[in-house]
Symmetry: C2
């Protein structure tokens, strides 16, 4: 599944410009499928070429022409097929966990800073979600939107709980290997 397919999905809910689609991504997919203009605009161009979407330009005074995209019948078919046939992959990529895995290469303060920074990111994300409640009047109230929002929240909270209760696992050992290796550095000199 790629950005093209997601754009098709957004356009299955209504007609939007590239700019609007980016906002849709941010408010709905950012936690599990982020994308920027550099992905979205080329994706839209490709979809237009394949006639999976159509485009109506609205001239605006002093601003670039607004291009409103609309999904076509074959675009909708294609989208549903992609949805059904998707393998349902679900994968994390975490630099934070790499840092924790190799935490014995970090000193005590550096390690604590990384952990606290991750906790702070989690809290920011949760606060952002809370801040959005009520802001969206009627939009994004489908079961799917509620399910994915709740899923994201559950993951954030589970991560926070895990880190708070298990950080001692890495903090107890930190700095061990740094010291050991440093006193052993002549291994590399010979």
């Amino acid at each position: 599944m790629d950005v093209r397919t997601l754009c098709l999905g957004v356009l299955s809910e209504g007609d939007y410009t590239g700019y609007d689609i980016k906002k849709f991504f941010e408010s709905s997919f950012s936690s599990f499928f982020p994308a920027g203009y550099g992905s979205i605009y080329p994706a839209l161009a490709q979809l237009l070429e394949k006639q999976l979407v159509s485009c109506a330009s609205q001239t605006q005074s002093k601003l670039p022409d607004k291009k409103v995209y609309q999904i076509t019948a074959s675009g909708l078919d294609q989208f549903r097929q992609s949805l059904r046939e998707g393998k349902g992959t679900h994968r994390l990529r975490s630099e934070f966990l790499v840092q924790m895995f190799f935490s014995d290469h970090l000193d005590e303060h550096g390690l604590a800073a990384l952990i606290d920074s991750r906790l702070s990111d989690i809290n920011d994300e949760i606060a952002t979600m809370d801040g959005m409640i009520g802001h969206q009047q009627g939009a994004n109230t489908t079961g799917g939107a509620a399910f994915t929002r709740g899923f994201n929240r559950a993951m954030l909270e589970a991560g926070r709980n895990y880190i708070n209760s298990h950080r001692v696992l890495v903090e107890r050992q930190s700095d061990n290997k740094v010291t050991r290796f440093d006193s052993n550095v002549n291994r590399f000199a010979g």
Copy 2:
């Protein structure tokens, strides 16, 4: 953070061949930083060129020469610096959640199949983790390894719990939009 850096990390724990490194990735990083031969071998070649690792070839009868890599002093420095300076990103990419978000484009049975398939994947992953306990004699018993293993497990279980208790959110509404759109398909014909 890229595969190069992770290879350096693996080599900070001992001397290994590309083949061994792949196995290390599978047993330790697969849940948050997967990589295949197509990433690992080129990464090792680049590290060798930059002299962050050295390589000793062992000729073998009837098998390709075994290339054992060893991290250099500057490689170790570089690795620790990358670890410290990493931004600690932590991101999910989930086709499954896309499918749930747009679940009203799926029929009841297709949706249930996708959810059950995800649950089965989760159970398989948990079973695999359980199966590995005891298999690794003394290896991977650092605090970092324990922390990341536990984190992965906590995420899998939180995901499973969430899906089991909230799948009704998507199942109640499924098929609604498909029906609505199909009766409305003339929107596209004109």
